[in-house]
Structure formats: C-alpha cells, structure tokens
Symmetry: C2
Subunit: 628 residues, 2 copies
C-alpha cells in the first residue's frame, strides 16, 4: 500500500498523543482517519460504513478514558478500526485481515487495549458486566465501557445482561451507538421504535439534550440518586427510548450527536464519574464521510477491495459462489412449493436471501441478530406443515444450539438448516470459522447432515431437504463452486445416506471427503495416478446417516483417508471411526484429515486449507505414508 | 396408588367435559384437582407448587379454547399437570415420571393436546410465534396461546421473540403467569420490578382491572386499534409492568387474579377475539391450596415422594450426592481463595450453591434463567483474575454454547464449569439428559474436560480446576457418590491428563471408563474375575487432554472397551478413537459403550443405564464377545 501523508495522524500512535490536541485539531484528525480507513479498506476489504460511523465516538472515548487500565468492550467489534489506529496498530493496516497482519476484529493477542476477541453480537454488555462485577469485588476503580450498536442490543444475551445490570453498584457505561441500521435494515420492535424516534428528532433536539444532561449531571461527590431524579424532572422532551431502559431500571441519557467530538468529550467526562451503570444513547450515521458508503451502507458493511475515486467497483469473483447458487435454488423451490419459508438472523445478503425477499416477501422473515428465535420460529412453522429454511452462518448457528436440540431434533420437525460459511472462512478469522457444526449437530437424534460438494449438489441437496420428514442440516463453505469437473457424475440425485463414488481406483486406498474439499482429493488422485497410485475418491454427501457402503469398505482390507473442512474432533472422520468401532471392523488404516485443535488465524481461505493440512498436497503425503 | 373418589373429577376426561359445568362446579373441580395433584406428587415426586398455582388458569383456558385445533404452548412445561389431567391422561398419574407412564413435561407423543416436548425455559413465545406465523401464512384461524412464567420471560430467547412479535398480524395470546417466584427467588430487574408491583396491588385492584378490561374490550367486529386506544385511556391505574411491553409495542392487559375462574373465562373469551398479539398478566400464588408448598415453594418446586398429611417428609437419599459434595467443597475453596466466585442461572439449590450463598453472599451471583449471560459474566471476571465457578446443568449449558466458544475458549480464560446432571437423569426425561457436553466442549481449543468418578475425585477435580490456567469443565451425574470403594486409590491427586488405574489385570482387555460409570466397570471386573478373565480397569479422569498412557495401550495388543454416560457420538470413546487414528495405531478392538443415537424416555437413572447398555452386564457381555 502506497504510504499517504497526514498532518496530524502521522504523529498519532497512542491515545496519549490525542489528549494534547485542541477540538479543531481532533476534528481534523477525525477527517484524516476517515480518509485513512477508507483508503485502507479500499485496498484490503473490511467493514467500512460502521467504522466511519463510530469514528468520532472512538476518539472521544480514548480522549476521556485511559484504556490501559479502563476497559473498553466492543460488541461484534467490526467497528474497532479507529480504536486500532489509536492504539499502536496504524502501521499494520497495510495488512488488515491478512496473514501476519491485524484482524478486522478486536484481538487481545494484538494489543492490551483489546479485552476480548469478538465477532459475534450480544457479548459486550454481558462481558462488561463480568468485568464490572470483578472490579466491584476487587474494589478497583477501573472504568468499564461497553460499546454496542442498535442491531446488537436486541440480541437476547445483551437483554439478559441488561436485566442483570442491577448487580453492578459502581460505574459501568453502555454506549448505544444507534445508526438505525443493522447489517441490513434492523428488524423487531426495538429497531422500529429507535428508527421512529430518530426520525422525530431534529439536530436542535440533540444539542438541547446534550446541554441538559451536562447541566444536570452529578458532579463528583454529589449524591447520584438525587441528581438522577433532578435529571429526570428537567429532561422532559420525548426521550422515549428510555422506556425500555427504565423498565429495566437502568438510567438512560440521550439521544445525543455521535459526531460532535467536543460534546462527546464533555459527556464521557461527566458520565465517567457516575457510580452506577448507565446508558448513553448516541446517534451516528453509518458510513459518515464517504459518500458511497453513506448512500449504500448495506453494501459497504463488509467489502472486498474497491476503488476509492470515481465509480465504485466491488470486484465480483469470477465464478459463482455456494451462496449465489443457494440464492437461485431457494427461489426455484419456493415457486414450486408454497410451503417454503426462509428465515434469517440479520444476514439476508450474506446468506443469499435478497432475491427470495424480493419475490416472496410474505414468506421471508428476518428476526434481527437473534439466532435463537429464528430456529424456534422455524420449529413452530414446521409443526404446522410449512418448510422453513433457516439461513445462518455456521459460527452463528452456535447461538441456537439448544433450540436445535429441543425444539427441532427432539420433536423431529423437518426444519432445514442452510449453513453458509461452514469450514474455514479466510479473512474474518477465528471468531467466524464454522468448524464445529458437524460435531454439534450429529450428536442430535433425528438429524440428517449433508455437505454438497458443488453447486450441482447444493441444488440436489436442497431439493432432498425440502422433501425430508426429518430435520436436515446442509453445510457449505464461503467459496466458489466447481461445477465444471465431472458434472455428469455429480448430477446423480440425492438418496438418503448414499455417497457418490467419483473415481474408482484399482488400489486399496480410499479417500473419503465430505463437502467441497473433495476437489482437493480429486486433485491429489490426479497427481498420485502419475505416480501409479490409483486411489478411489468418494464424495460422502452425508455425515449422518453414513453410507453402509462406506462401512463395507471398512470391512475390506482398505486404507481410508477422510478429509473434511471441520475440526478433526467430532467431525465426519470421527463419525467414520465410530461406525467402524460399532461394526467391529478393522479400522487400522484410517487417517483423519481435518482442522487441528487450535484457533486458525486470519489468512486467505486457500492458505488456511493448506496450513491446516486438508489440501491435495497433504492428502498425497498421507497416501504415500500409508503405502510405506 | 390407591384410587381416590372425586365427585366431579371422576367424570372429567377431556376438555369438553368441563364446558357444561357451572362456575361453582368448576371451582369444586379445581379443589378436587388440587387434591389429586398433591396426592399424585406425594406418591411419584414431581413439580407441585407450580402446578397448583396454574390450576385455575388451566381450567379456564381449556374452557374457552379448543386445543384440538387451537394451540397451547408451555414454557418449561413443569406446570402442565392440570392440562394433562384434563386431556385424557388422568389415569396415568399413577405412573407420573415413571417408565411406561407419563412425562412430567408436555409430550406430543402422549397427546395431540401437547405441541412441543419441553423442559427448558424461554421457548414458549418463540415457538408460539412460529405457530402464529404459520397460521398467518396458511390463513387459518386457530388460536395460539403461549403460557409463560415470570421466571422464564426474562430469558433472552423469549425477549428475542417479544421483540419480533410485530411479525404477527393476527391473534396470539401470551399469558404471563406471575407468581413472583422463580425456581428460587427470581433475579434481575424485571423480576424485582414485578415483585414490587405485585406488592403494591390489593385484591381490589385486580378486580377493578379485570372489570375495566372487560368493559373496554373490543367486541368481535369492532375495530381493535380504537378499542385498544380507549382501553389505554381509561385504564389509568398503575399498571407499570406494561412499560416493558409497551416499549416493545405489545398490548398489555392486567394484572388480574389468576385464581378467579369466572373472570378468567370472561377474559380469555374476550381476548380470544383480539386480532393481534397481546399479553395478559396474571397473578398466581405458587403452591396455592397445599399449605407446605405454599410456605416453602422452593423446596416443593420438584420433589421426590412425600407424606401428604401431618409432617412433611422429603426422603433424603441415604448417601451423599455429587451435588452435596460439590456444595461442601466450593465453600472450602472459597474460604482459602478469595478469588473464588460462584454463578448460577436460577438453580442455586439444584446445583448445590445454597451454602455458598449464605457464607459468601457478595461472591455469589444468580442471573435468573439466563445461562448465556452467566457464562459471559464469568468470562469477564476471569479476565480480571477471579476464579468463577459456573454451575449449570449439562442440558441447560447448551444455552451457553456460543458464549463458551467465543468468550471462554477462544480467549482461553480460566472459567470453571461445574456441570451437574451430566449423563442420564432419570425421571425428568429426554429434555433433561446431559448427553452432549463431552462432544460439544471437547471440540473447543483450550478446554480441559474432567469427569470425577466419586466424591473424593470431585473434590480433587475442583481443586485442580481452581489452579488451572485454562477453562475446565467438570461433569458429574445426578446420583450418590461411592466413596467407600478403593478410597486410597481414588485419593491420588489430579494431574493434567493423567488417568488412574483402578485395577491391573493380567489379560489384554482394558476397560476405560469416564466418570462415575467406572463403578459399573469395577463390578464387571469382579464378575469376570470369577470367570478367570482378568481385565484392567482405568478411570480416565480426563476426556481432554487424553492420557498418553491410554495411547500407549492402544499401541499394544490390547482390546479396549470405553464406557461413558454420554452419546457414543463425539464422546469420550470417540476421542480415544480419534487419538488412535492420529497415532496410526491398531484400533481394531476398540468398543465404545455409550448412549445410542436416540432420545431416552422417563425411567429411573438406574434402569436407563441398563437400557442403553452402559452397565456392568453389558460390559461383561462385550468383554466376552471380544474373547471369542
């Protein structure tokens, strides 16, 4: 990345560097950071709009608090770029979301300024609550700040924390960063309510609110309860969002302007002295400062690299992704079957449901960042004979674990889980990999587990699932499909628990792969053939139930190598081992290739596949080892 | 059970039988059912107080709605006894919570009147939402009723559903059964608020509220919005709980008297015509009608059998349970180490924390039925150097899956999970077994997994965990400890990843057991010895990391039988298989004894252990098979 020159930013490395700046200088710094972030994201990809929206807020927080001892906790954490810039990581933006670079999310491994590695929503208030209770226990005065967006605050875990905030008898500030814009348009009563309130406010109102808060705020030493009372009495404008917080007995202040650094500094200073939990409600404009992000914040939530001047160009990959195939197939299915319903949790774009939403608005549900309720809604619908397709990334599906267990598997209801981003996800890193879904789902009775290898199979898998009387989980990765290899073979229809032999070898080595990683096995087979090692390659299709044919192979004198894009623990290979043990067969030569027991750092998905050893090269090496 | 004679109840089998009764007759029926339930629970054990509290409400619901087509969804479901009595299952109360009898929870397998098998909290509003959306889709007019207690409504999943209730544009009634009493005393702002409001109401207020609701309620055909408006204008008493629901834009009615059948029938009739979702807030007294339950509802939440007349006697088992050992040890640890903190989610009694609470009030947290936030609070505390012990039943820990993943395992924070009710739980049945925790936890990097075999080991395991720098999960079952067998051997201190050989046999068969089920292995070894088969018995202690010594046994010419109180899928035995495959060793003769891929019905834990085949007899049979 070509180095840019910035008058102020070039001299800023840590929070102490900004505390000597004047307000006009801080404003100038904000616009320099805005340029810096936009430029960086244009090169590396990443979250743009949310970071620009939180820019001034972050500067003001770092100006007031000392986060070497005070603790700042982010929700999701995708809006932490300014925070990273101000905490010693500015130079690393050249490698944002790249190997040996910095994560796009907070990461304690990078900096003592980061408390938790995050990436999922609904964790800031709960973990901040834990930090605050610990400080209370330890009688230390570190300030605790939870920074949460309006899309995340509706998550059940945040609600549970708000309901328990009364445990805290000391300072703990919740900054509600309200841009009335979730990843997509926020869903739910609270989101609608916040939008409505926002629209009813003029800029003048925000200024008045700020002044009133500052006028009536308890000064150090003054009794807080009295001050809060006087605050409530004088602040008589329509700060209706307070109702939710009031019903939870949480002092609420706002809304105020989230782009006015001078006021924010005063507000944070005043509120840092409050010796009980409180909420400061701040309005920001997602994507402020960069016109295309401003106009189209959804598109710019998380982007690949793009051009910064003139026409915006988001490079689409050459091929078709699993997501886009899904997007087309679900629409086809819905046309033919009016029972088909689609449900997502604030990810209509990422899961490929935009087209479905346009065409079948009344059969589409977005519940916001609330994966638990998404699954239960599907259970209720399936109970009534509908065919709900629940579209949630593998990592976020972990939020619905108990709902899948009790409301779906135990009832044996035909809910269909479309698990995008299964396996290694590349640049989003450890919080976003989907490496546990095979294990956590296959323990549940009644579940059927599938992993289509390509677009042809994804379509067949979805059709199969639509006709299933059992719950079905279909996992597929964040990558392009390979539909040009052996298309005729892959076109064989899905049959419950039947695998697909892609290549019959003359030797006694069988490579058994689950999902798109089977193409690594095919690549390996090619190379091995040149060495006169003729292996069999089987596309498993099902992790549950396993193909009996696979079991019969275990009976023979074969050596088996399983390959999967999942932890080796509890995954597809483990299922094969368990089946072998159950059948009492010779499992001497089974090798399991999967992701080792570790967290896999930011890199490209391609590199991660190589690094963990589920690539063609490792398969070749394993085959050769078995030949020895 | 000796058959009792009831004037009315004897003639009542289905809801249609009660619709011809007069109000005085319904009241008499209520008192007969009260006697019947108390008598039944005194024989079989079960939930008493909550069922007596919901008695009149249930009669009124069945009087008004027709649940052959309308749908009644219970939260937790422990309060469904009257419902079962009125829906054809009265005669089966002789076998309540027993093999071939009826479950203590709703069960669609028993009756078409039950929608979902439940047992966990926070599912009624989400699944009812799904049912309502399906009816909306299908344009049918079935009425939907979600019945939820005040302890459950604070669960994050219910909140997520309330926030999404706006999706429903038709009838859906949420009955909030408020007894201001969770399993233990409810925690959190909403619970405190409900209690406060409740205390401020006189009986007269409830009558007035009921009359006002009925006066102003929309009659069929009248425009609802206008009626709601007029309702709001006239109902000016302090119905403050409405703030929460109002902030979520949900029409709220109440509070009304939950024991006044006549009024309840009128209210349900009126509200069944409302063509949008609404909440009816009902006050009940948990344990109404049976004095001891009334005085001490916590004790009577779920009981074993007891005497009905005169002195109440809850038979304590002869031995000490894992729970009671835990109860003593956590207090000891806390005395020696001021970093020790205990956290539970509404289960202080069940998890053995009552003593800790009394002695270390400021280090004890009960967050209510909110397992997700319990884990995140622990993560925050561990981050600050404290030693949080999170005490949650295995089945409910599923609610925290993603929090354990992201906030604990990914950060490698030394949170200690004390997983009571791991394995088969007996009479509580399929929703309450803890059969997945080994699998779902061992996929997570950094986790250490332990299962002490008895009380001696539980104490050692807890001490080990308290000194661990990693997160530790300790699982133990709902049973008494066996501390009199080989006490000296079991007293060997815990060392990371080291198993304990209980018996060295001269033969080449090794039984490797995880947890208290090892006593079945010892029993088997005794019997086998009489047959001159001298097996080795190893108490694994750790499922992660596995003992290298176990791996070396796999290298030898041994046959291994693993035994665990967990699904065979992904469990301890699977971990042994994976380790063997990784080491490339001969796993020819490994047999995995665990729970098969099915839901295990209500029975005693002892019988369940036999039925699934993890008992001494099955071990003996497996050893003999291997000898062939």
């Amino acid at each position: 990345m070509q180095s840019m020159q910035y008058e102020l930013l070039d001299k800023i490395n840590y929070p102490q560097d900004i505390r000597s700046l004047s307000i006009p200088q801080l404003n100038k710094l904000a616009s320099e950071i805005c340029h810096f972030i936009t430029y960086s994201v244009s090169k590396s990809g990443g979250h743009l709009a949310s970071n620009l929206g939180a820019l001034e807020l972050t500067i003001a927080m770092h100006y007031v608090f000392d986060f070497t001892k005070d603790k700042l906790v982010w929700d999701v954490g995708h809006q932490c770029y300014t925070h990273k810039i101000l905490t010693g990581r500015k130079d690393k933006f050249e490698k944002l979301r790249q190997k040996d670079g910095i994560s796009g999310f907070p990461s304690p491994a990078e900096s003592e300024y980061d408390q938790f590695s995050v990436g999922h929503a609904g964790t800031s208030i709960p973990t901040a609550l834990g930090l605050a209770l610990a400080c209370q226990q330890q009688k230390n005065n570190d300030k605790i700040v939870a920074f949460v967006g309006d899309a995340s605050i509706v998550n059940g875990a945040n609600f549970e924390a708000l309901n328990n905030l009364g445990l805290v008898k000391r300072q703990m500030l919740v900054v509600l960063n309200d841009n009335s814009m979730a990843i997509d348009v926020s869903q739910g009563a609270i989101a609608r309510f916040l939008s409505k309130v926002r629209l009813s406010h003029k800029y003048e109102d925000l200024r008045n609110t700020t002044n009133r808060i500052l006028d009536h705020f308890p000064v150090v030493g003054k009794k807080v309860e009295g001050a809060l009372e006087s605050f409530k009495q004088t602040l008589r404008m329509a700060i209706t969002p307070s109702r939710l917080f009031e019903s939870l007995n949480i002092p609420y202040f706002g809304p105020v302007d989230g782009h006015d650094i001078a006021s924010l500094i005063q507000l944070f200073t005043a509120m840092s002295h409050l010796n009980r939990p409180a909420v400061l409600h701040v309005y920001t404009k997602k994507g402020k400062g960069f016109t295309p992000a401003d106009d189209n914040p959804t598109k710019f939530h998380s982007t690949g690299p793009f051009k910064i001047n003139g026409e915006i160009e988001i490079p689409s990959s050459c091929g078709k992704s699993f997501t886009s195939i899904f997007s087309d197939v679900i629409v086809k299915l819905a046309k033919d079957d009016e029972r088909v319903i689609a449900i997502t949790a604030a990810m209509p774009d990422g899961t490929g449901l935009m087209k479905f939403r346009r065409q079948f608005e009344s059969r589409y549900y977005d519940v916001g960042i609330a994966e638990s309720v998404a699954v239960d809604i599907a259970a209720g619908q399936a109970k009534m004979g509908l065919k709900p397709f629940v579209c949630i990334y593998s990592t976020f599906l972990q939020r619905s674990y108990d709902q899948i267990f009790q409301e779906v598997s135990l009832q044996n209801l035909p809910v269909i889980f479309c698990i995008d981003r299964a396996g290694l996800v590349g640049a989003d890193g450890p919080t976003h990999h989907g490496l546990m879904d095979i294990g956590f789902l296959r323990m549940m009775p009644n579940m059927i587990l599938l992993a289509p290898a390509n677009g042809i199979e994804l379509e067949a898998a979805l059709k199969f699932a639509n006709n299933s009387k059992n719950p079905v989980a279909i996992r597929y990765p964040k990558e392009d499909v390979q539909d040009d290899i052996l298309p005729d073979v892959f076109s064989k229809p899905y049959e419950l628990g039947k695998s697909l032999t892609l290549k019959s070898g003359s030797g006694n080595i069988v490579i058994l792969a689950y999902g798109s990683i089977v193409f690594e096995a095919l690549k390996a087979a090619e190379v091995l053939k040149a060495d006169n090692i003729d292996v069999t390659v089987i596309n498993a299709r099902f992790a549950k139930p396993l193909d009996d044919n696979i079991l019969s192979m275990l009976n023979a004198d074969n050596s088996i190598i399983t390959v999967e894009d999942h932890y080796t623990a509890c995954g597809f290979g483990a299922a094969v081992l368990e089946a072998a043990a159950k059948a009492g067969t010779n499992t001497k030569n089974i090798r399991i290739l999967g992701v080792p027991d570790d967290y896999i750092n930011v890199d490209s998905r391609e590199h991660q596949i190589k690094a963990v050893g589920i690539d063609a090269e490792t398969i070749i090496k394993t085959v050769k080892d078995l030949q020895k």
